[in-house]
């Protein structure tokens, strides 16, 4: 760990009490993120990606129990007083949510929402705040920003709304931006624009970013490191180039195989991962991916694999039968 570390998530676990029993949404996750770095968190629905981001922000549902340590910029967020935490959010930590339809207040104008955020944290006067809002809207690629200030969210398209949400998140120059599936609710052409915008603003402001997505394609060219999550655990973690060069975890391979390919012949069936993620209220004794894994053997059902290093210590995976071994065994 270097001094450059901005965020470190240590042994974080989130438990949600449900009528059917305790649900472990996030299971002892460890992550680190340096200033200006980008981390991609990938996994299918319900694997704990969003809960992890909420745990970092300390915005978990009221009944959720959080354990572990979240160090941000030298402070333990779990020990921080609500008031200090509140000042940190928005100022140093910002989020862009999945659905811009619901993450903007429907009855307030774009201008009100932007200007108030600016004034809340930076104590600007009205004129300065208005000017900065216009600059921000222009920076995120919104045409005619002066006129947009007086408009309501429903007057903008989905892509525009997400740009506004990004502008609000960027307004106070945060050190860390968490983008929770920022493009899932948008169509494909807009997706690329929004991702490019995020990457551009990140470089310009030298902020760290966590992109949460279920799409390996999204993280491929835009992140420094990728963490693949399954059933609340990080099952593979590697620098992005290393991961795509040589993935070790069968789940990562299956996720990648499930991406539609441009070079595939028309009408090629898309390989889906069969079955469903395990019921999180009934944790499996062994590897949680074993029921769906095509390499699974008896040992996988009785013992949980721990994260272990591959060639480099930066590349870690949790599997007894990493993909390469199979290739060698077959050769």
């Amino acid at each position: 760990m270097t001094d450059n570390t901005l965020l470190s998530v240590e042994d974080v676990a989130v438990d949600l009490p449900t009528p059917r029993g305790n649900l472990r949404a996030v299971d002892r996750v460890n992550l680190t993120l340096g200033a200006g770095q980008t981390l991609g968190v990938v996994g299918e629905s319900g694997c704990g990606k969003t809960m992890l981001s909420r745990a970092i922000l300390q915005l978990l549902p009221r009944k959720a129990k959080l354990s572990g340590r979240v160090m941000f910029d030298g402070q333990d967020l779990l020990q921080l007083s609500p008031e200090k935490l509140r000042k940190l959010r928005g100022r140093s930590l910002a989020v862009v949510f999945q659905d811009p339809m619901t993450s903007l207040n429907p009855v307030l104008t774009i201008g009100t929402q932007l200007i108030e955020t600016l004034q809340e944290h930076l104590e600007l006067d009205d004129a300065t705040a208005t000017r900065r809002s216009i600059e921000l809207l222009a920076a995120v690629g919104i045409p005619a920003p002066e006129q947009r200030l007086a408009q309501y969210p429903h007057q903008l398209s989905g892509g525009m709304r997400q740009r506004v949400a990004i502008a609000i998140a960027l307004s106070c120059e945060p050190k860390l931006l968490i983008a929770d599936e920022p493009t899932t609710a948008l169509d494909v052409t807009i997706q690329a624009q929004i991702l490019d915008l995020l990457a551009r603003e990140q470089r310009r402001r030298h902020m760290a970013m966590i992109i949460i997505t279920h799409d390996l394609g999204v993280v491929a060219g835009r992140t420094d490191e990728v963490a693949v999550m399954y059933a609340g655990r990080v099952v593979e973690r590697a620098p992005t180039p290393a991961l795509f060069k040589k993935m070790r975890m069968p789940y990562t391979e299956a996720l990648l195989a499930a991406l539609p390919r441009l070079d595939a012949a028309p009408h090629t069936p898309l390989p889906a991962i069969s079955g469903r993620p395990p019921d999180p209220t009934r944790p499996l004794q062994g590897c949680s991916f074993s029921p769906r894994c095509r390499y699974a053997v008896a040992r996988c059902q009785t013992e949980k694999p721990a994260l272990q290093a591959a060639e480099t210590s930066a590349h870690q995976f949790a599997c007894f039968h990493p993909i390469e071994t199979h290739a060698e065994a077959g050769a």
């Binding site: 959010r89 930590l93 989020v95 619901t102 009855v107 307030l108």
Partner: protein, 290 residues
């Protein structure tokens, strides 16, 4: 190859979605009546009207005339003047009482819906207790105990309105507090007060205001009922309810003495209901869509 016909019929395209057209004539008639009622009630002291309390025993139950446009009542008082001064009482009580309910009930409901937990149980529980009282009986008991005055009447009608406003505000807050923009506001470091006042209140105020107009209508009727029973404003001040009550004695001789204030009350209550309903219909689908 077939081409997709994308031209829209010009007549359709040229028609802008005008809000005024959708509201309908009835809505504007109701608004017109309300404005007229308010104007007359506010301007009552400056209008060239005879005093509503001066009796003229020689002209009891006089028919319509140039001197008394709507005739006189059983004690020879000018009916039109009493009607207009009665509107002042009915409207003041009808507006002020729901404002009490709107403020207190709305605040309690939003706090309960936002903070949940024990506070919510306490608020909902105490409101259920208040709802369990028969409202008219409670109003009767309080006015009988504290004495008849406009202030007491407004106060008790206002308190009786709190549970309903609380429920409307709480229901709206419950659904809104789970929306992502509230979490987004928290993620931006907003305080609870800011979330309640700036994020939730502008959303909750729409259904609350629509309900407020309906509550005004109900309150005017309840005030009328209390006055009819002789427990509203003390005589000789006129209110519509009192006038109907007094007119009851001469229903066979001069039925207009009861029907004129009844018609005024009917039209006013209908107007408030119509406007309230229209506004509710306007705000409801938008709430669902967003």
């Amino acid at each position: 190859m077939a081409t997709l016909e994308l031209t829209i019929d010009e007549g359709v395209a040229a028609q802008p979605a005008k809000r005024g057209r959708r509201l309908g004539l009835l809505f504007w008639l109701a608004i017109g009546w309300m404005i007229f009622m308010f104007a007359v009630a506010i301007l009552a002291p400056v209008l060239p009207l005879p005093s509503p309390t001066d009796m003229d025993m020689l002209e009891r139950r006089a028919p319509f005339s140039m001197e008394h446009w709507l005739g006189t009542d059983g004690l020879g008082r000018d009916e039109l003047s009493r009607l207009i001064h009665g509107a002042r009482i009915s409207l003041v009580v009808g507006l002020c009482a729901p404002i009490i309910g709107l403020t207190l009930g709305g605040a309690l409901g939003m706090l309960a819906g936002y903070f949940r937990g024990r506070f919510e149980s306490l608020v909902v529980g105490s409101m259920d207790v208040l709802l369990a009282f028969p409202p008219l009986i409670l109003a009767l008991a309080v006015t009988a105990f504290l004495g008849q005055s406009i202030l007491n009447l407004t106060f008790i009608l206002g308190v009786l309105g709190i549970p309903a406003f609380m429920r409307v505000a709480r229901a709206a807050t419950l659904t809104l507090a789970r929306r992502e923009f509230v979490i987004a506001a928290q993620a931006l470091g907003a305080t609870h007060a800011r979330i309640l006042l700036r994020e939730l209140l502008p959303n909750v105020i729409l259904p609350l205001f629509a309900f407020f107009l309906l509550a005004v209508a109900v309150t005017i009727v309840v005030e009328g009922a209390l006055s009819f029973l002789g427990l509203g404003v003390p005589p000789p001040i006129s209110s519509w309810g009192t006038m109907i009550g007094e007119g009851r004695e001469s229903l066979d001789v001069a039925p207009r003495l009861a029907f004129l204030p009844a018609a005024a009350m009917f039209l006013t209550v209908l107007s408030f209901n119509l406007v309230g309903d229209t506004l509710r219909a306007l705000t409801d689908p938008r709430q669902g869509a967003l």
